[in-house]
Amino acid sequence: MALLTFRDALNQALDEEMERDPAIIIIGEEVAQYNGAYKVTKGLLDKYGPSRVIDTPITEEGFTGVGIGAAMAGMRVIVEWMTFNFSIQALDQVLNNAAKMRYMSGGQFTLPIVFRGPNGPAEYLSSQHSQALQSMFAHIPGLKVVAPSTPHDAKGLLKSAIRDDNPVVFLEAELMYNWTGEVPEQQYVVPIGTAAIRQEGTDVTIVSFSKPMKLAMEAAAELAKEDISAEVIDLRSLRPLDETTVFESVRKTNRCVIIDEAWPVASIGTHIGCRVSQECFDFLDAPVEVINSQDVPMPYNHGLELAAQPSVAAIIAAVRRCSYATNG
């Protein structure tokens, strides 16, 4: 096992897949000569040339649509959005074309395309550059949505996403790119659609994905000091959603806390909360707790922006509430 950053794990996935299949191209802003705004595509231009690693003008709708058209015609395409905040410019193409072409043509096309880039808040970027947009994409039938939280899964899931014949939205995060983790030396893939149990436990199920997984793990460690044993589930895929793993865990622990850094209305977090309440009702010892970001645009001020997002303290408080614990 090698210790790799999330960024380098993604880069390896791109490199290995491009080497394997000459039909794969990458398009996006600054992906080629600049080596990627976040350096995820570093070195790929030198290795694969400008016909496969393609710099674009700042035209998210245009180049995303070009990628979708190329995928419909038989190429395998990776679209990098510099951030998901800019994916909104391209949303029409994703929603109306990528997610619909197969269905409304009666199955005549495959859409092997990955839309990837950093999603969710970083720091000091205010409202337009701090958005966690997973709920929007996960809402759309015809897409798969993936959100890894470790370098190992980032690499394995990106390889699966590239090989998938469906459009896959692949959520990274700016603050995760420098996270390190163990990545096997040999090639591997992680299948889309399976959650991972990061820590086994008996008293409460904590469910999260992507960047807030770090908070979930820290909270679990703190709770262990209070003799509260948390089972921590990393969803990894948001569509399809591995409900079975969540339900089985909740039926064991009888309590559920969900952390999702998107806004609360119609989010993945509230959706899972609803599903757990429906499917595990007789097993629950307390109402399901959902921790989302606050229902406001993101402010610039650091104290305010931290207050807007899920925190370790908020997770611990929610676990205590549903455990009817008195301390704190």
Partner: protein, 327 residues
Amino acid sequence: MSSKKTSLPYAKEFLEKLLYQMLLIRDFEEKASQMYGLRKIGGFLHLYIGQEAVAVGSIASLDLARDYVLTAYRDHGHALVCGTSSRSLMAELYGKATGCSRGKGGSMHFFDAKNHFLGGNGIVGAHIPLAAGVALKIAYNKEGGLVLCFFGDGAIHQGSFHETLNLAKIWRLPVIFICENNQYGMGTDFRRVSSVTDFTLFGNSYGIQGRQVDGMDVLAVYEEFVRTGKHCRENLEPAFIEVKTYRYRGHSASDPAKYRTKEELDEYKKQDPILILKSKMTEAGVAGQDDFERLEARCRIEVDDAMEFAEKSPQPALETLYEDVLV
């Protein structure tokens, strides 16, 4: 059938093919319109009647083994000319399982991947980047093909159009962007909403050769596309063509078209693309009334057969609701 040359520089078979395709589009749509009135067909029905020469003349210049066609929601004519069977298209309008899109697309979403007809798109301008993507594939694989991307004067102000023209130019993509200017974006006269009335200026703004052609004359359309297509293929270049045309019907079946005068419509009907071709063929001595009646009879048989096929075809099974969301 004679293939002798006439004073028109085309074989009789070729001219009859063009005439037949225009007749077929018109008959097919008139039947569809009638069936829409009887509620056999639902949703929106955007008719192409009046514009037939555009799809027929331009697609006649293609080799669909390597070339592709994409258009917007007024797509019946383009699909027919690409060779999709009138049966499967009428069945699609009926929402039947035998439809080209298995009853899931309807009028705006005809597709025929085998014949390189990639839709049909219901969002104004959304298919324009897709067409450039198909051209990117052609260029990447050095296939020698060409993409025709049709849209209306209503789409030309969308960002997707302007973004794509720029991309096609910088990446040297073999695609012809075709604005079928039928003069009304739904009920809006294009002169009311456009900063320019000569749309070739938009092409020129991106360094793309822009040309105009009379869309009521199928041979003029054909000749322009042969010329421009050759240039695009040989030089790996995009082009822009504004085709001046006119739709006889409203924007969709529910539009009484009160935004224009009867006199205007009548004036255009005098330049009907079918009449123009017929008179050219007659003047050249290549065909006469008997030939036209033979073609019209064949056309009626084809459309009646398509309707009968659609009527008799089964409804899609309920379980197909869940099919083809993903692979």
